[in-house]
Symmetry: C2
């Protein structure tokens, strides 16, 4: 009996185009992890979350340990709605669904909107997990390049108009990370935000706004697409992974009530009652604005340190965008193959994510790599960039 | 803009055949919950889980609060493998995937094996959440009736042979809960287990064995299908929801390595690192066999109490299977419409699950209802059955 023969046709195709083994190699134990999009370990509120769990279980006993039952699951939803309101996003209780992180939200969106033949527009490059999730549902993508002002909406308009003229299927969804994009760190300008909303209305598509990094702003950032959305075309995805702790797996999606009802219906029991209730206690007992200030200061400082190390240790030919928030710096090394470079970097003791994983056509990503300034401490970070600089130089001399 | 017009065709069909509003009504606050498939609140190890979380965070600090990082995530996998070994199921590390509860495991199985046209065989009645999940992926089902010895494998054989003769598509998967089935409480006999494995080999299908209740055995139960599986055709799904706490969302799936690799690949970031690591500490510090003894004794005693209350308070015409483990008793009330009955029962202060939710063709379920003896305390349970008896009698006189 051949086990593979049982796979569905779609999964066979997905496994062939993108076999599990082709993924980023495991990191050696001693390695400076400039690859990890994790929060700074010092900013993970370990003791506060411990207290939250203790208080929760003392007060509610077994309630949060059942499928549902803790009144704090509903409370968490209210708390998230309050935080969204601060950012200009007003949604009712019927318009917000708590999810197990942003990835579950993206997966649910794919599930309710995508057919095999659905066309979806993506930024290029884009968040690799989102790309992988969408590839489980459709093979029809339109990739729109990104520059330092984010998604190139003029290019998007050209493509849409061309497709319309030719009678080709128009995209049903656009997935975008407008603020401190993963992986490039760039932010879509207000003009382009306005433009993309106009395009959505004109060409009748929905916008999935992934805002996982939106609160980690160093100076200031434009309004979120959802806050500018007059027509109700934006589904706004958020997460506490970057501002509290990813291991708690708390995310959400906000949008029209009819969509939220359908998303909830397909989420079923894939909920996490205990984590939701514990997070609600944490938020109850935390001054979140104060917390955000500390996060911003820390990450802005770490970003500066990384930028200055890049200036110091990387060859002249290497370039990058200067981020205004978030976790990432996107590096271009002309002529490089960053997948090969990674093997050498790992031997030297530093990791990054090769650019190819963020592109639908992986060939487009060979000269790029993503660095994260969020996780490593400053000393390690400087050391890591120094090692990376040496690897790049050695490599370019070959 | 009509929001619904954006839904995928498959979801439109699913929402039409099974609109969210048609689901079981919310329970009033004061209600004896004979509907809830929750563990007994006294058996949820609240203090032990609290200690586990404290110990975990003291020892590992931020590690379990990232996407991955806690060594205990790997440890949990080993601990589950050890528990499976006790039950005659020997699997390697590559053959077991930890999931966010059994539902995620079922959803992942559906995802990697089902195409739109795939035929799947189900017990009738079956676990309603599994039915809902499968309905998101295919509309082609073969429903095999269940009796007091479980799935009627002779009937399954007839159907398979008939389909084969007629050149109809044969099922790719059979989903079964062989031990203490949800909702009927019945257990598949050893002979039928042997038979179904033979049929799987002869007609080339896979068996999804949902074993969520398998450890809650009052006297003894047959070997699991996976333990009897010579050909590697069984995917074994388990869960700690019924024996520890559902809110922790820890389940698993065991099977051929190539399937586990694909399942893991499609699970992506939909993991729960914190809950997994905390559960590992709990298992480390718990005598699980002792715990199981207490669970068995408690549930067996509660089952007896419910059975004797049924004898005492329900009309002669009402019948049920006597379960040998698990959480449920399946009741038949000839001529009743149990959905209507539920409205009256809720007014009277007692809940149950109407039978129709466990059937693909809901019309088949009108005379049945599922009672759970796991959650309510004995006094409430007796009172609840008394109330139910009155509702049934009032209703039959109309």
């Amino acid at each position: 009996m051949k086990g593979e023969s049982f796979f569905s046709e779609k999964i066979k195709a997905a496994l062939e185009s993108d076999p599990p083994g082709s993924w980023i190699p495991n990191l050696p134990d001693k390695c400076i992890r400039l690859s990890s999009g994790y929060p700074d370990p010092m900013l993970v509120p370990v003791n506060e979350l411990k207290s939250a769990v203790n208080r929760l279980l003392n007060e509610e006993q077994d309630l949060p340990l059942h499928y549902s039952g803790s009144p704090r699951m509903g409370k968490l939803q209210e708390q998230i709605r309050e935080r969204l309101l601060v950012r200009g996003i007003a949604v009712s209780g019927e318009e917000l669904l708590i999810t197990a992180g942003a990835c579950q939200a993206i997966d649910l969106v794919a599930r309710i909107f995508l057919d095999d033949e659905t066309v979806i527009a993506l930024e290029s490059p884009t968040y690799m997990e989102a790309l992988e999730i969408f590839k489980n549902y459709t093979q029809h993508f339109i990739c729109i390049p990104v520059d330092e002002d984010g998604l190139q909406t003029a290019r998007l308009e050209e493509i849409l108009e061309e497709r319309k003229q030719k009678g080709l299927t128009l995209p049903k969804l656009l997935y975008t990370i407008p603020t401190f994009q993963n992986p490039t760190g760039v932010t879509m300008s207000t003009e382009r935000r306005q433009h993309v909303l106009e395009l959505a209305a004109k060409y009748n598509f929905l916008i999935i706004e992934d805002d996982a990094y939106g609160e980690l702003v160093f100076e200031k950032s434009p309004l979120s697409l959802k806050a500018m959305d007059q027509e109700g075309r934006v589904l706004h995805i958020g997460s506490l992974s970057k501002v509290v702790a990813p291991g708690m797996r708390i995310g959400w999606i906000a949008g029209k009530g009819e969509w939220i009802t359908a998303l909830a219906w397909f989420k079923k029991d894939l909920d996490h009652p205990f984590a939701q209730a514990a997070m609600s206690v944490f938020l109850e007992t935390t001054n979140f604005d104060e917390r955000l200030k500390i996060l911003k200061n820390t990450y802005q400082e770490k970003c500066k340190v990384m930028l200055s190390a890049l200036e110091q240790h990387l060859p002249e030919s290497v370039s990058w965008y200067v981020p205004k928030g978030g976790y990432f710096i996107w590096i271009k090394i002309p002529g490089a193959d960053t997948s090969q470079l990674l093997t050498q970097a790992l031997s030297a003791g530093v990791s990054f994510i090769p650019g190819k994983y963020f592109f639908l056509d992986q060939n487009e990503g060979t000269e790029f790599l993503r660095l994260s300034f969020s996780y490593s401490d400053k000393k390690d970070m400087i050391k890591g960039i120094e090692l990376l600089g040496k690897v790049i130089e050695t490599n370019s001399k070959r």
